[in-house]
Amino acid sequence: MASYTDWNFSAEDDEEELEEYGYVSAARDAILFCINVTQSMHDSEDGDKSPLYQVLQAAMELQKRKVVFGPGDSIGILLFNTMESKTAFANSGDILEFSQLHQAVSQINAPTIKELRNLLNDAEEDPSILREQFRALDKGSIPLGQVLNHCSYVLRDGAPKTSIKRIFFITDDDDPHPSHRQLRLAAKTNYRDLLEAGITVVPFYLSRPGKEFDPSKFYADVFSRPDDFATEEENEASPAITDISTGFSQLLEEMKIREIPKRSLFNIPLILGEGFVIGVKGYGLVTEQKKGQYKYFANMGRTMEEVTSKTIYVDEEQETEVEKDQIIYGLEFGKGGAEGADEAGDGDANEEQDEYAQNRIEVKNKVFFSMAQMRSLRTFDIEPSIKLLGFKDKDELRFEDNVKHSYFIYPNEDAYIGSIRTFSALLKSTHAKEKIGFALAVLRRNTTPVFCALLPQAEAFNDQGVQQDPPGFHLIPLPYADDIRNPPVEKSIQCSTEEIDAASGFIGKLMGKKGYAPDAFLNPALDLHYKYLQATAFEEEFNPHANFSDETIPNYDRIHARANTFIHEWKRLLQQSEQANTMVPTAVKRKAAVSVDEALIRSFYEDGKLIKFRNDELKAFLSQHSLPVSGKKADLIQRIEDYFASHP
C-alpha cells in the first residue's frame, strides 16, 4: 500500500545506526481470543484437560510471554455459545446474548493474568468448574456474523486506536450453520467489515479423531480474503488445524508463531541490474532480546512517584544548560591531551625561528559540518536500496565474516509488479547452483553502505506440514577490512596423530544429530528475571533453586556416560606426551626464562617437598597453568597443591 515516496524510515539522528526494532515495538498488538464453547470443548479424553481448559491455558501462557515480548500489547477473551451471558464491561448495555466476555481487551497486567491462573488452578482440582462457568448451548450456534460484529466492538472498545487488532478465533465446530445460506452470507459480510476496520482473524481449528475439522465446509469460504486485502503482512500461510488428540503443544507452537505480528524493518528496492528492479521488505528474525523496559520511581515516603528522566547538555564551565536547537555538531581533531607538551614545544626552539613562523596557517582542532554534509560523508548519497553486485560460491561466505545479526528479505509485489516471480526465480536459481548473492546495501536512510551476502533459503516444512523455514534470502552484513583483526597468537604446539585419534573418540561420542537449535535454549538470565518479576507482580514467593532450571548447562550425565572411556584415554596419552610436558619459556621481560619440569614438580608435590623450589620456579609453574602468581611462598605452594589436588 505504500507509494514509493513513503518508503523508508525518516531517521532523525544519524549519530549511530538506528536502534534495532526489538520485540517491544512502537506499534502495539491487540488480540481477542474468541472461543467457540461447544459441548465437545468440555469433553476431556483419558483424564486429559478439556480442550477449553487448554485453550484458556494457551491464552494465559501467551499473555505471560507477551510480558516479555510486548508488554504494551492488549489481550481479551470472549467465549460464545454459552448458556449464560456476561460482560466484563462495567456499564455497557452492549452485550451479545449467549456469550461471555471473560476478559475485556486491556493491556497485559498482573491482576488479570493472576485471575485467569487462579481459575485454571481451581479447574485443575475440579474440572467441572469450567463446565459450570461456561455452560455450552445444547445445540446450534448463535449467528457467527453477530459474533464477529461483537468482536469488532469489543476490540475497538478496549484496544488503543493505533494498535494492530487481531482475533484469534478458536473452534472445533467446522459447520456452525449447516445449509443456512443467509447466516453464511451475513458472516461473510461481517468478516469483510472486520477487514475494512483493519481487524484480522487468525483461525485455529481443532480437530479430533472421528471428527476431522474440514475448513472447506464453511470457514474457508467465510474467512476468505478478497484480493485487494491480500497484500499486507497478514496473508499468512493456511490456517492451523490442530489435532487435539495429539495434545496442545502444536496449538501452542502455532500461537507462538503467530503471537507477534510480523513487522518489516525496511521496505526498499532490490536493484538486480540497470533497469531491473524489484521491491523487497526486510525483517529481523534474530535480534538479541534484553530485559524489558524499566522506569525509575522515587520513594516519597508514602507514595511512589514516577520519575521522568531527561538528558540535558551542559556547558560545564559556565554551568548552563544548552537548548537542543542551539547545539552544533563537530568533530574533534586530536583527542585533547598533550596540550602541555605542545606548549613546551611552542616556547622552545620556535621563538628563534620567526622567519618560519610568519606564514603560519591555523590548524583547527575542531571541524564543523552541517548534518547534511555529515550525512553525505557517511552515506555517499546512496538512497536506501540493495544493489546486487554479482554472485559467489556459497563457501566463500566464511564463518569469520560476521559482525552483527542478519536480516531476512521477502519480495514486495506492492512496490514493484513482478517482484514475486523475479524473486522466486532468483531464489530457485541461486539455491540450485549453491551460490550466494553479493550486494551493496543501504538499508535505511543515513546509514553507511555495507557489503552483504544474500544467502538463499528454500521453503521447508516440518513433519506436521507447518512452515519451518520461510522462502527468502538471509541478508548477512559483512565486516569491512577495518573490522577484521589479525590473530594475536602466531604459534602453538601442535599435537601428534594419536592424540587426534583420541580426541576424535570422544567427539564422535558427543556428536548431536541436530545443529544449533535456538528453541532448546531459553536465556537463563532473562528467564530468571521474568520469573522473579512475575512472582513479585503476583505477590508470591519465588525460590530459584526449586522452580528454576538453567537449560544451557551441559547434560553432564550424558556426556560422562558416553565419553568417559575416551576422555580417560585422551588424558593418558596427554600425560605421556613429551610435547605436552615441555615447558614454554615464559616471556618475562629482561629476565632469563625460568623453566620447570612439570613431572618434577609433581613428584615433589607428591613427596610434600614443594618448598624446595625457588619462588620464581613456583611462579613459572603457576603462570604456565594460568594461575595467579601473587602472594608469599606459602600462598604459591598452597595454590600448586590445590592445583594438583584437582588435577590428579
Partner: protein, 828 residues
C-alpha cells in the same frame, strides 16, 4: 603488521635548502570540482606528505606515537650536536622537538619555508645524524620503542659522501625504519624520469638508491609523488586484540574432574565493528560570532566561540501543571512543573504488562555462573545455520604459556577439523556474568591450531514469522496452481539462470601469482567508506582555511571500488540482463489505490457483466518497461505494458493473488457504507479522520466530494455552501496527502494552491473559520512531527506568510484568534 601500535618515534628530516623553494605546477580542484593548475614550491608539495603522516598520528591520538622535525639547509643552526661542538652540523635545525603531535604541531609544519639564502646549505647526512641523536637522546633506555625516520629531499644539494657507512651501521644497530622520499626522483614503477636532471641530483639520487638504502636493513626509497598517492590510501587502524584468560571445559570439571577436560585458553576479538568518528556536541558562547557561512562546502564555525558540552541526566517528578497559556494555544502542551530528584533516591521498576513492579533487584538472586566456555555437544558443520550468527567473532587460542594446553586444544581442533564438526558452547565471560550461547569452528594452520566462535541466539531472540509460499499457490478451491503470474515460467527460470551465471564473481578479480583469476571482492580489501571519508574530511577541514576555494576532494577510489560490479562482468551479463528485463517485466507499481469491489460473494452468480476480464487489465503487448532507478517519481511513464508470460486466460479470474491495476477500475464499484472508517496500519495520518490512500474513491460513487486526482478542481466544482463543512474537511485531508506523497517539493505548490482556495472558502463560511484554524494547527503539528517525511512543507507555508495563517478576529468575526497570534503563528 606485527609490531604493536604506538610506541614509536618518527623523525621527519626535511630538506629546506633554497632549491626546495622552486615552484612546480600541480593539479587541483576548484570549488565546483573543476580542475585547475596551481603553483606551489617543491617544499610545500613534499610537506603535504609529512602533514598527512602527522595528521594520522593526531587522529589516532596515541600518547605513545610521537614525532620530531629536523630541518637541514636552514640559514641558522640549532641542534643538540651543534650545542656541544659549535662548528659541527651547521645549518641543521631541530624545528620541532619530539612530542605527541597536536593541531598546532601541524600548523608549525605547514609554516615551514625553504631557505632564501642560496649561499648556505645543509647536508642530508648531517640532518640524518642529528635526527638519530635527537631520537636516541629522547628514547634513552626505552628499548622497546620503534624508531622511524622519514627523509624528504630534492637531492639538489651536494653531499659529503665520506663516512656514510658509519651512519647506516648505526641506523641498523638501532633498527631505524627509514624512508627516503625524493622529490622528482626517477620512478621505475611509473616510468617517471626527470628531464634535464642536474649533475648533483643525479649523483645524490644514485647514492641514495644504490648505496645508502641498500646498506640499510630496514630502508626504502620512493618518490614524493608515489608517497603522496600511497598515504591517501585508506588503511585500517591497527588495533591489537587483548587476550582474555578463560577455560574451555568438557564435562563436569567440578564434580567429576577425573572424567572431564579443562584447557586453559585465551580469547580475543576476531572481528570488531569500527564506527566513523562520532560527532561531538558543542554549545555556542554568547557574545561571539560563531558561524561564518561560506558559499560552498562547509559552514565555518569559529572554533573559539564554542565549547564542548557534557551530557547529564536529570530525574524529574511531575508536580502538576501551570495554567494554559493564551498565546500558546497552537501547541496544547501546558507548562509542567517538575521537581528534581537525586538518582540515589530512585527505585528501578520493571514493567509486567501494564503493571509496574518495583524491582528488588538486590533481593533477586542472580544467576550463578562460573567463568569459562563449556562444550555442550558437537555436531556436523553442515547443519549449522550461518544466518543465526548474531555478533562479532572471537578467537580461542590455547594458553601461549602452557604446552599442555596447546597440545590439548590442538588435538581437539584437529579432530573437529577431520570430522567436520562444530561445537555448541555456553560462554560465560566472568563469574556471575550472563550466559551467552555460541558455536565454535576449528581452524588449523601451519603451526597454529585454534577455534573461532560466534554468538548464537536464544529461543527468545528468534522470531518465527511465516511467509506465504512463493510458488506453492492454491486457489480458493484448494487446488495447487502451476501457472500463475507469481510463478516463474520455464522461460523466466532459464533467463534467471543465465543471469546468475553471467554475474558470477568467482573469477572476476585480479590474478594471483600463478595467473589464476581470484574472486572479486574480499572483506579484507573493502574499507568502511564512512570511516575513511569522514577522516578525510576532518583532515581536510582542519588544515584548510578557506573551504570554498579549496573544497574537499572526492573520496579515494579505493573506497568506492566495490560500489559497482566489475565492468567486465557488467559487459558479460548485458545480454542476460536484457533477457531478464524482457521476460520478468518487473516495473514499479502504480501508487496503490484500493478498490472497494463488491466481489464479496463469489459463489453467488452475480452478473458477469460487471466482471472485468483480466486480459483487459493486462494491457497491450510485451515490451520492457522502464523502471526509474532509485527514483520516487509518481508519474506513470508511458503505457502500462505487460509481458506475454503474464497473460492469464479468463478461466482463472477467481484466483487469489492477482494484482489489479488501478488504471482500469471496474465500472461497478460500489461504495461501502460510509460509516465504516478504515484504520490504516501504516500510513502516518495525524489528523484523526485522515484517509489512507486505499480509501480514495471516485468522487461520484462514494459520497465524497473530492477525489485525489484533481482535488482543487473537485473542490471548486462540487463544493457549495450546503456541503461546505464536508468539502473543507475533505480538502484538508487531501492537502495532507498531497504533501505526504510529494517527492521532495514537487507537489508543494499544488498543496499551497489548495490551501489558498480552502482558506478563501473558509472565510465565507461561519463554521469554516474554526475548521480552517483547526486544520492549520493540525497541519503544523503534522509537519513538525518526526514521522512526517515532508515536514519542510511548513517552511514553504511560512514563505507565503500571513495570508495563509490562522484566521483572526479581524478577518472573521467568529474567530477567537487575535491578529497578533495569527501573525505569530506563522513565525514560529
Amino acid at each position: 603488521m606485527p609490531e604493536r601500535a604506538g610506541y614509536t618515534v618518527t623523525m621527519f628530516v626535511i630538506d629546506v635548502n633554497s632549491s626546495m623553494g622552486q615552484t612546480r605546477a600541480v593539479e587541483a580542484l576548484g570549488p565546483n570540482g573543476e580542475p585547475y593548475t596551481k603553483e606551489i614550491t617543491h617544499l610545500e608539495w613534499a610537506l603535504q606528505f609529512v602533514m598527512m603522516k602527522v595528521q594520522e598520528m593526531i587522529f589516532n591520538g596515541r600518547k605513545t606515537d610521537k614525532c620530531g622535525v629536523i630541518l637541514y639547509g636552514t640559514p641558522g643552526t640549532k641542534n643538540i650536536l651543534n650545542d656541544e661542538h659549535a662548528n659541527e652540523y651547521p645549518n641543521v635545525t631541530e624545528f620541532i622537538p619530539i612530542i605527541q603531535p597536536t593541531p598546532s604541531t601541524l600548523s608549525k609544519i605547514a609554516s615551514i619555508r625553504a631557505s632564501e639564502d642560496s649561499t648556505t646549505s645543509g647536508d642530508s647526512i648531517d640532518g640524518i645524524i642529528v635526527a638519530i641523536q635527537t631520537q636516541g637522546q629522547f628514547l634513552g633506555t626505552k628499548k622497546t620503542w620503534t624508531r622511524k625516520m622519514v627523509v624528504v629531499t630534492d637531492g639538489e644539494t651536494p653531499m659529503e659522501l665520506d663516512d656514510w657507512e658509519a651512519t647506516t651501521q648505526k641506523m641498523n644497530e638501532l633498527e631505524i625504519g627509514t624512508a627516503i622520499i625524493g622529490v622528482d626522483f626517477d620512478d621505475e614503477d611509473s616510468g617517471f624520469v626527470e628531464e634535464n636532471k642536474s649533475r648533483t641530483k643525479q649523483i645524490n639520487e644514485k647514492f641514495f638508491r644504490n648505496e645508502f638504502v641498500p646498506s640499510l636493513n630496514r630502508g626504502i626509497i620512493g618518490t614524493c609523488a608515489a608517497a603522496l598517492q600511497d598515504c591517501n590510501l585508506p588503511e585500517p587502524k591497527f588495533t591489537k586484540s587483548v587476550l582474555m584468560q578463560t577455560v574451555l571445559r568438557i564435562g563436569d570439571t567440578e564434580g567429576r574432574p577425573e572424567d572431564s577436560i579443562e584447557i586453559s585458553v585465551k580469547t580475543s576479538k576476531c572481528t570488531a565493528l569500527v564506527r566513523p568518528v562520532s560527532l561531538k556536541k558543542f554549545g555556542r558562547r554568547e557574545g561571539i560570532q560563531a558561524d561564518v557561512e561560506t558559499e560552498g562546502g562547509m559552514t565555518m564555525v569559529n572554533a573559539n566561540a564554542v565549547v564542548p558540552l557534557t551530557r547529564r541526566t536529570e530525574y524529574l517528578i511531575e508536580r502538576g501543571e501551570e495554567g494554559g497559556d493564551e498565546d500558546g494555544d497552537e501547541d496544547e502542551e501546558k507548562e509542567k512543573i517538575y521537581e528534581k530528584v537525586e538518582k540515589e533516591q530512585l527505585v528501578k521498576a520493571f514493567k509486567y504488562g501494564a503493571t509496574w513492579v518495583p524491582s528488588e533487584e538486590d533481593a533477586w538472586e542472580k544467576l550463578h555462573t562460573v567463568k569459562g566456555i563449556d562444550v555442550l555437544q558437537f555436531f556436523d558443520a553442515s547443519k549449522w545455520h550461518r544466518e543465526y550468527s548474531i555478533g562479532e567473532v572471537q578467537f580461542i587460542f590455547a594458553d601461549p604459556n602452557s604446552a599442555r594446553a596447546q597440545v590439548s586444544l590442538s588435538s581437539i581442533v584437529q579432530a573437529m577439523y577431520i570430522k567436520g564438526a562444530y561445537a555448541i558452547v555456553r560462554w560465560v565471560s566472568g563469574d556471575g556474568r550472563d550466559v551467552k550461547m555460541g558455536v565454535v569452528a576449528p581452524r588449523t594452520e601451519e603451526g597454529l591450531d585454534y577455534l573461532v566462535s560466534v554468538q548464537m541466539p536464544f529461543a527468545e531472540d528468534v522470531r518465527k514469522y511465516t511467509f506465504p509460499s512463493l510458488d506453492n499457490l492454491k486457489n480458493r478451491l484448494g487446488e495447487t496452481l502451476t501457472k500463475h503470474p507469481n510463478i516463474p515460467t520455464d522461460d523466466m527460470m532459464s533467463a534467471m539462470d543465465a543471469f546468475v551465471d553471467s554475474m558470477d564473481l568467482t573469477h572476476a578479480g585480479d590474478k594471483d601469482e600463478e595467473g589464476n583469476r581470484l574472486p572479486w571482492f574480499t572483506p579484507l580489501d573493502s574499507f568502511n567508506p564512512a570511516v575513511h571519508r569522514v577522516k578525510q574530511a576532518l583532515f581536510h577541514g582542519a588544515i584548510t582555511s578557506d573551504i570554498a576555494k579549496n573544497p574537499l576532494p572526492p573520496p579515494h577510489p579505493e573506497l568506492t571500488k566495490y560500489f559497482e560490479p566489475p565492468s567486465k562482468v557488467l559487459r558479460r551479463s548485458k545480454k542476460a540482463l536484457e533477457q531478464c528485463k524482457q521476460v520478468f517485466g518487473a516495473r514499479q507499481a502504480p501508487p496503490k489505490v484500493a478498490t472497494k469491489r463488491k466481489k464479496v460473494d463469489l459463489d453467488a452468480t452475480e452478473g458477469t457483466d460487471d466482471e472485468f476480464s483480466l486480459s483487459d487489465l493486462m494491457g497491450a503487448g510485451p515490451g520492457p518497461s522502464k523502471v526509474p532507478k532509485n527514483s520516487a517519481s509518481q508519474s506513470q511513464s508511458g503505457p502500462q505494458s505487460q509481458p506475454e508470460a503474464m497473460d492469464v486466460d479468463s478461466g482463472t479470474e477467481d484466483e487469489d493473488y492477482v494484482k489489479i491495476d488501478m488504471t482500469s477500475v471496474p465500472k461497478s464499484v460500489k461504495a461501502e457504507s460510509p460509516k465504516v472508517s478504515k484504520i490504516s496500519k501504516k500510513t502516518p495520518t495525524p489528523p484523526p479522520q485522515a484517509a489512507s490512500p486505499m480509501e480514495i474513491d471516485p468522487p461520484a460513487q462514494s459520497g465524497k466530494l473530492i477525489g485525489n486526482a484533481f482535488p482543487l478542481k473537485d473542490f471548486n466544482k462540487n463544493v457549495n455552501a450546503a456541503n461546505m463543512a464536508q468539502g473543507l474537511d475533505e480538502l484538508g485531508i487531501m492537502i495532507v496527502e498531497i504533501v505526504r506523497d510529494s517527492f521532495s517539493t514537487q507537489r508543494f505548490q499544488e498543496a499551497i494552491d489548495c490551501m489558498k482556495a480552502m482558506r478563501k472558502a473558509a472565510l465565507e463560511d461561519e463554521d469554516g473559520v474554526e475548521q480552517w484554524n483547526e486544520f492549520l494547527r493540525n497541519l503544523k503539528t503534522t509537519c513538525r512531527s518526526k514521522a512526517f517525511k515532508n515536514g519542510d512543507f511548513w517552511d514553504h507555508i511560512k514563505k507565503v506568510g500571513r495570508t495563509l495563517s490562522l484566521i483572526s478576529e479581524k478577518e472573521g468575526a467568529v474567530s477567537d484568534i487575535s491578529e497578533a497570534a495569527a501573525v505569530k503563528f506563522m513565525k514560529d
